[in-house]
Symmetry: C2
Subunit: 328 residues, 2 copies
């Protein structure tokens, strides 16, 4: 079987989970899908591990790191795909955007879990990929292991009327705990930070920017809105009081940070009252998205919207699609 | 644009909804997907409407019916696909199985909403289609407009550990009403019949056979179990008492007819206690399926598992896939 060679940019939780998955799934992928995914380089801040024949993933010693950055590796190492997993910069796209653009310009397939390049340049990058013979895939950027983007192939022929989702697990954990335990926002945030569900600087989550990026990606994919991140009307959850959440619960509702998109109303993120029996009422760190369709009616997908393994699973699915693997 | 010609077998709710959809979506399909789906024959019990150039769907007069059955139409009318929408016979596959087999043998693509041919002969029909250059698609047979089968392309690379679902809307409506209103089984069944959610002979629904057929299809698609309908251990909901449902509610549960499949436990359908906060707790006629995955964790899909428009939407999605339409 011809190897499908991969350069991995980044060495955080998701990259490590992906490398682990490449080892554990190797035999399954070979037997069932006749495909061999071979990591030929892993590039982290301290340098790069490179082996054109395929890295020994259980032997990635720090002393074997070469002083190369992603640009140099892309220049010098033959591969079919770049997996871009460096930290997200929603403001500018960051270095990730440079990595993705360079790889696509070379005709590589690019798979990313990084929202930065997607919200800043998806149309440009997709057009360039089409021209250069590669592809640009980013399933993992929205809802991690919930296949919200590849689902599109399954929804063809019907009109998507609107999209509503709970897309930020941190905010949802906080709002869930406020509802269940009567906590105030600050108490619930501290608890979330203690459990590792919220970062020390929780702004991107609780102020709605992360959810805004995700709903922007969905809106552009499904509704063709051509929306930019700065077009989204965003309200976060900092001003949601414990009293408001308790009052909602008493009346049969929960408060959820709902991201919405439609032709008529554009793209929004705001705390909303959601009926207890609504599919949008998910608990804890879960994510959900509901697509409302003209003929097929609503369809909702629920699952884990974050986590190293979950995100890696979405990256692997994209890599298989890039390698031309289809269900048998 | 080269027409993709369709023969429709059956003229019930789903067939009419599909024909309606072909008219209303015609322009969208041409503009966005560059495809023209042209019905060249509709075959009902009383005869067939045939026009090799494409039927005028707003002028299907009874007097224009020709005395031809599906076999004769397949013999005489050139087409790319058969859409099989005659009534379901779960016991033998019925005439639908003959229709499907003949069409596939001729190299046509076949799309069906009929579980009969699928549970009785899917492996044979898929092998034949692969040999003859057509395809056999049946998204609409499980969960109607919930894309439970085409989702498989989105879940590649991960291991599906088990599948659990609520797949029969009639039973779920009855159990929901028993829980909400304290009705007994017979009262709730009568109400469901009055509202058109249950048939005069509700056996296939309340005895679990319909759910058994659907979970069999999912088990074979995702787990490769090679299960036959008669392998499923099925228990219906006739013996579920109002008292049992009320007791469950008091303890934070609902009773749901849950269809399950795993390598270890095989395929089962039985009433189960489901926690209130579980994604399997869907109300009324909704359907849900949860896939448990090794890496990606659980993902649940919820939507309308029945209805003419919903089923037609799934049939149309399959037709587009058969016609080679992919997301742009």
């Amino acid at each position: 079987v011809k190897p499908f060679r991969i350069i991995v940019a980044g060495y955080g939780t998701v990259a490590r989970a992906l490398l682990d998955m490449l080892v554990t799934q190797e035999r399954h992928l070979a037997e069932v899908h006749d495909v061999r995914l071979v990591p030929v380089a892993v590039v982290r801040a301290a340098g790069a591990w490179v082996d054109p024949e395929g890295l020994q993933l259980d032997r990635l010693a720090p002393r074997a790191l070469m002083r190369k950055d992603v640009a140099e590796v892309l220049e010098n190492v033959q591969a079919e795909a770049l997996v871009e997993l460096t930290p997200t910069d929603l403001k500018t796209g960051g270095v990730a955007l440079d990595h993705v653009r360079s790889a696509i310009a070379k005709g590589l397939h690019v798979v990313t879990a990084n929202k930065g390049p997607v919200v800043h340049a998806a149309p440009e990058l997709e057009a360039l990929a089409a021209k250069k013979g590669g592809s640009f895939r980013y399933e993992a950027t929205v809802g991690a292991a919930i296949p919200l983007l590849s689902l599109r192939a399954s929804l063809l022929g019907d009109r998507i009327e609107r999209i509503d989702g709970v897309l930020n697990g941190t905010s949802n954990y906080i709002l869930s705990r406020m509802g269940e335990e009567g906590l105030g926002f600050n108490e619930a945030l501290e608890e979330a930070q203690g459990r590792g569900y919220a970062e020390a600087d929780p702004a991107a989550d609780v102020d709605g920017l992360d959810a805004a990026a995700k709903i922007t990606i969905l809106a552009n994919r499904y509704l063709g809105l051509g929306a930019r991140l700065e077009d989204v009307r965003v309200e976060g959850i900092r001003k949601v009081t414990g009293e408001a959440v308790q009052l909602a619960v008493k009346q049969g509702y929960v408060v959820r940070l709902v991201a919405s998109a439609s032709q008529a109303a554009g793209v929004t993120v705001a705390p909303r009252l959601v009926p207890l029996a609504s599919p949008l009422n998910v608990q804890g760190t879960l994510n959900v998205v509901r697509f409302a369709r003209e003929y097929g009616g609503p369809v909702s997908l629920t699952g884990h919207g974050a986590g190293g393994r979950e995100t890696a699973a979405a990256v692997l699915a994209d890599l298989l699609a890039a390698a031309g693997v289809a269900p048998r």
